[in-house]
């Protein structure tokens, strides 16, 4: 599957409190959480973006708490993929488990600017910057992780183990 959207760039060490402040954690509603996405670091982000946009971040994106509300808020805001130099561990696995595609790619971050048009082939992790006519290859996802994604997320993957 291919997706296409506008690059929204973020610095290193964006934590989950910045992605979704704790005061909004009393709801699980994807749309509601989406409205407050990135409020801790970029107030007004939700109104600024379009459905299909792509977050591009520096290192250690999603550090801090285990709140699944963080990737849910990103998904709820309409972001279709997160590309970062590196991810915090729990955030990374939460994305996989809820089916929000994530790719590690340093070059794509370094050589793309805010507002560039980006398309991504989710199958092979090839990231194409249409504005600059540059192509990048993300670290491919490990086979085990691909199995979970191909099954349609962790809940579907784990169904076979239910009594």
């Amino acid at each position: 599957m291919k997706i296409k959207g506008i690059a929204r760039k973020f610095p290193k060490d964006v934590d989950t409190d910045a992605i979704i402040p704790a005061r909004y954690l009393n709801t699980q509603d994807e749309k509601e959480l989406g409205k407050h996405c990135m409020e801790g670091i970029r107030p007004g982000f939700y109104d600024e973006i379009n459905t299909g946009d792509i977050i591009m971040a520096d290192t250690n994106f999603g550090c801090g708490s285990s709140r699944e509300h963080a990737p849910i808020a990103i998904k709820g805001a309409g972001i279709k993929c997160v590309v970062a130099k590196s991810f915090a561990r729990i955030f990374y696995r939460n994305c996989i488990n809820i089916g929000l595609p994530v790719f590690e790619c340093s070059k794509a971050f370094d050589e793309s600017d805010e507002g560039d048009v980006i398309s991504i082939d989710l199958e092979n992790g090839v990231i194409y910057n249409e504005t600059k006519n540059l192509s990048f290859e993300a670290t491919p996802l490990p086979e085990f992780v691909r199995d979970i994604i191909n099954a349609g997320g962790l809940t579907k993957f784990a169904k076979k183990f239910i009594k």
């Binding site: 910045a18 009393n26 250690n60 285990s66 488990n97 979970i148 009594k163």
Partner: protein
């Protein structure tokens, strides 16, 4: 070739003789933890999984500690969801307000997390139980739902970084300073996907309370978990509490480490982690007259009896600065009672502090003490991110309980040495 303790625990729980860093395993879990923020999300996933029953009603712990006693209607509804799930599935380890404590203080105290076990919790500070020699790590709500339904979770076997602490500790230096020193050294992503194993003579002499504090903050360096090899101190703590049999695991002598880092503590002063990062550490002697509005003593990092005792020792017979509010949150009801018996609560109240029932409250800017715009706090908690304790333009400085108490008296970030 030998294995690290982390590799051994994961191998055993995955039914394998051997695993190595980088392998993926789908392993059996000894205990799954959830709280009132993360569990409601997990319950929805649990339903969509089509699960009818939990895998084992004695191996799930539900602790409503974050927005409880309920801060508003939405959190009351969430806490109710947790309560109803616990009743419906007859979860034996559900802790109601009044019996509840902050999860990472409560579970070890109740003997629900043990050496050699594989624990997952939908809370990032689940790594705290590494202090007992368990492999314990934070997961998300979907992971938690699957773990509650199947008793299983997936893992990428992590590498381990070995930290050797040596030298003699100076007065007022505690577990908090040791972990801040480590985070300051390697940075907030210095242990990404890795285990931080703490050892050396300093660790061997450390109390359980201080060990919990250290392991609690491994996540602040990006760590998957922390680990301290069980010794006599661990076993003494565990033996009077354990609710199950357990088997300890320690790293082999020839285990492969990603890195070995030595930290000499002889010159180490108490540290202050300045906003907005736990890695932004400064020795207290370099901190110059920073005025404060609030002091928070408590949380899963420093809300144990030892922490309260140290703070009370400094506060005894003194008053909190007129411009400062001090909030004290014990980790559990048991700690609350001990503090009551020892006269510690009286010391806090006499000094002018507010003493609360256990809750996460202010630690995550949830309730019971948020910071207004432009305010500054000294806190014994674990995070000082932008807006962590309230307004985005408020600031949090992290310290050990001794510094927090001294700062409360002087109205600025200070060392106990400066208190007359």
């Amino acid at each position: 070739m030998g294995m690290t303790a982390a590799e051994k625990i994961l191998a055993k729980h995955a039914g394998k003789k051997e695993v190595k860093a980088g392998d993926f395993v789908f392993a059996n879990i000894d205990l799954v933890l959830g709280n009132d923020i993360t569990s409601p999300v997990a319950f929805e996933q649990f339903k969509s999984l089509g699960a009818k029953e939990v895998f084992d009603k004695e191996r799930i712990a539900l602790v409503p500690d974050h927005f409880t006693p309920n801060k508003d209607l939405k959190s009351a509804a969430n806490a109710k969801m947790v309560r109803e799930f616990a009743r419906q599935h007859q979860i034996s380890n559900y802790f109601e307000v009044g019996r509840m404590g902050i999860e990472h203080v409560l579970l070890p105290e109740q003997g629900l997390v043990l050496p050699g076990e594989l624990i997952v919790g939908s809370d990032s500070h689940t790594c705290t139980y590494g202090a007992l020699g368990a492999f314990a790590t934070g997961i998300g709500s979907t992971d938690a739902a699957v773990a509650m339904a199947t008793g299983k979770a997936w893992f990428r076997v992590p590498e381990t970084i070995k930290f050797i602490f040596k030298g003699d500790l100076q007065k007022w230096v505690s577990g908090k300073d040791l972990i801040l020193a480590a985070i300051g050294k390697i940075g907030v992503d210095g242990a990404l996907y890795q285990v931080m194993e703490f050892c050396g003579e300093v660790i061997e002499g450390l109390s359980m309370d201080s060990r919990f504090t250290m392991c609690n903050m491994a996540i602040e360096a990006g760590g998957k978990t922390a680990f301290i090899a069980p010794d006599d101190i661990t076993l003494e703590y565990v033996s009077e509490r354990a609710q199950r049999d357990y088997q300890i695991e320690i790293s082999d002598k020839d285990a492969q480490y990603a890195e070995t880092i030595e930290i000499d503590v002889s010159e180490l002063e108490p540290l202050v982690a300045c906003p907005p990062s736990p890695a932004n550490v400064q020795p207290i002697s370099k901190i110059d007259n920073i005025k404060i509005d609030q002091v928070v003593i408590g949380s899963c990092t420093n809300g144990r009896l030892e922490d309260l005792r140290i703070a009370a020792e400094i506060l005894k017979g003194r008053k909190i600065h007129p411009n400062v509010r001090m909030l004290v949150f014990p980790g559990t009801q048991q700690i609350y009672r001990e503090a009551l018996k020892e006269g510690i609560i009286d010391i806090f109240v006499e000094a002018g502090a507010a003493f609360s029932t256990p809750t996460c409250g202010p630690c995550l800017g949830g309730h019971m003490g948020l910071l207004a715009e432009g305010e500054r706090a000294v806190s014994t908690t674990n995070r000082n991110f932008v807006g962590r304790m309230g307004h985005p333009n408020s600031e949090v400085f992290l310290t050990n309980p001794a510094l927090a108490a001294a700062s409360g008296i002087l109205g600025r970030i200070a060392s106990p040495e400066e208190v007359e």
